[in-house]
């Protein structure tokens, strides 16, 4: 009897300790923790639920698509298409963005500076009508009932939202999806091992030469927009300042046609036309085609575009960072080799983020 009491005591202590311990994002040494909103603390149970929901086609009007349809792990959570395709066949005006390190983004989507919450953002593909992505508007209760019928979800929702009488609420779906997405973190590419792990053999000589071109303002200077450890410009992190997102017009078009006018669509300022967020270049080799509308098919073509200072250099809003640069064919190959060294192969296969329904 005494032993049982002792056992229960130790179990209780362990549970308390587990609850108090911060969520383990499994970051490489030195990397910051992503910011987590106070009203949606991380837990393993919530992330587990989010993973099932992320891959669940019950969250589309016709049961054909899930979040993962446009955010596929093997493509670093993009879809390999120029423009995303919704569950009812509607073509999105823009290209699906990678979810890798999305937890650190100061703002989400290509150009909406006000949308900076993953919980809020999850409602866009679920309920949005311009375009229809998952098409759940008006079907929210039906979808929640579908989820509730599964014993699996009874367990997962109860564990993720303990103490709630009815955890089957849309708000909890978005919270779980956001928690899952916050865990999709890439800091383990060959380049990370070279640069932050001190492993000189982790990347090739060509990639090392390409790194110099990337970080040289006098050469390619790519880092001026795709800077910092996330190769994305400003990031938010736990305990860090609330940095603002940056948007750039890369001179892709002379005139950006609606609805793809970028930042202007959200600010109404004509000088913001054609400005989009610089996405992370992590895993860029597996996220073709490129740009907000998939207009650029390959890394070779992207380097060509920027070496001209933007193919539509006459655009008045074109970023002043852009200017033509001259690289030899060998240097261009080196630069692309460097970009390839940013691919985190483990991320593309890690079972933590794979389809749990398979």
């Amino acid at each position: 009897m005494k032993r049982v009491r002792q056992g229960a005591f130790i179990l209780a202590l362990t549970l308390i300790r587990l609850a108090a311990e911060p969520f383990d994002f499994r970051l490489s040494p030195g990397f910051p923790r992503p910011p987590v909103p106070e009203n949606n603390p991380m837990s393993a149970a919530k992330v587990a639920l989010g993973r099932y929901l992320f891959y669940d086609t019950r969250l589309s009007v016709n049961g054909k698509q899930s979040c993962a349809s446009c955010h596929r792990q093997e493509f670093a959570f993009t879809d390999g298409r120029a423009r995303a395709l919704g569950t009812t066949g509607e073509l999105h005006p823009r290209s699906s963005m990678s979810l890798v390190n999305v937890a650190y983004a100061p703002a989400l989507t290509w150009a909406d500076p006000k949308l900076d919450s993953l919980e809020q953002q999850a409602l866009v593909p679920m309920l949005g009508t311009e375009p229809v992505e998952l098409g759940l508007r008006g079907q929210e209760s039906r979808a929640l009932q579908d989820l509730q019928r599964l014993p699996l979800y009874q367990r997962l929702f109860a564990a993720a939202f303990p103490g709630e009488d009815d955890p089957f609420r849309l708000e909890n779906v978005t919270k779980a999806l956001a928690a899952f997405q916050r865990t999709i973190i890439s800091t383990r590419s060959p380049y990370d091992r070279y640069r932050y792990g001190g492993d000189e053999s982790a990347i090739s000589g060509a990639a090392k030469r390409g790194e110099v071109l990337f970080f040289s303002g006098e050469k390619a200077g790519c880092f001026q927009c795709h800077g910092g450890w996330n190769f994305s410009g400003p990031v938010r992190y736990e305990g860090g300042p609330s940095v603002e997102p940056e948007y750039h017009n890369t001179g892709l078009y002379e005139k950006y046609a609606a609805p793809n006018t970028g930042l202007e669509r959200h600010t109404g300022n004509p000088q913001d036309a054609g400005k989009f967020r610089a996405p992370t270049l992590r895993n860029i080799a597996v996220t073709a085609p490129y740009m907000h509308d998939g207009a650029i098919a390959s890394l070779e073509e992207a380097v060509e575009h920027y070496s001209q200072g933007g193919r539509a250099a006459a655009n008045p809003n074109r970023s002043t960072i852009l200017r033509p640069f001259r690289l030899t064919a060998a240097e261009k190959a080196d630069l692309i080799e460097f970009l390839r060294s940013l691919t985190d192969e483990k991320l593309l296969k890690d079972p933590r983020w794979s389809d749990p329904w398979r």
């Binding site: 090392k208 040289s216 006098e218 990031v235």
Partner: protein, 171 residues
């Protein structure tokens, strides 16, 4: 015979010229208006007073080690502290990178008797020699809000004494 030995000599010299040489240790040049121009290798920097800073650029913690810039300038005989006055206060350092990128610091900006700002000439990060686009030498200015003067691939520090012509003033 003479011709043969001459040919042999030429061959030998050619062979020695073509023989792969051990790469010279990378060196940082300290030049310009300095009493003692320097060529500093990592070994030279190891012999100077060492210092370290931890930066958190975008939240990523990196520990840099090296030598404070004022120690480097002192070694080159550049006026410092109470000696840093008069014309010397119009002097500045051009820091130049391998690709031609340049940034400027005035001498007073680097002097601990003038300011608490710190600029480190770094040669290691997290205990490993700086390589590739980082090194082998770089500046780290941890208190600056933007990283643009924390110049990487640093190859040269040049001290310039500014002499601005002022109308009517005697030189």
């Amino acid at each position: 015979m003479k011709i043969i030995s001459l040919a042999g000599f030429l061959l030998l010299s050619l062979a020695s010229a073509l023989r792969p040489q051990a790469p010279a240790a990378a060196a940082l040049e300290v030049a310009g208006a300095v009493a003692t121009p320097l060529r500093l290798t990592a070994a030279d920097l190891a012999a100077l007073p060492r210092a370290g800073v931890e930066t958190r650029s975008d939240g990523l913690a990196v520990r840099f080690e090296g030598v404070w810039m004022h120690e480097v300038l002192k070694k080159a005989g550049v006026p410092a502290g109470t000696e840093l006055r008069g014309k010397a206060l119009a002097s500045f350092v051009i820091a130049e990178a391998q690709d031609g990128y340049q940034v400027v610091f005035s001498l007073a900006e680097l002097d601990p008797m003038f300011t608490d700002s710190q600029v480190l000439l770094a040669d290691t990060a997290n205990g490993k020699p700086l390589s590739g686009a980082q090194g082998p030498f770089r500046l780290v200015a941890p208190k600056e809000k933007r990283g643009a003067r924390s110049i990487r691939m640093l190859t040269r520090l040049e001290v310039v004494q500014l002499r601005k012509e002022v109308a009517g003033a005697r030189r």
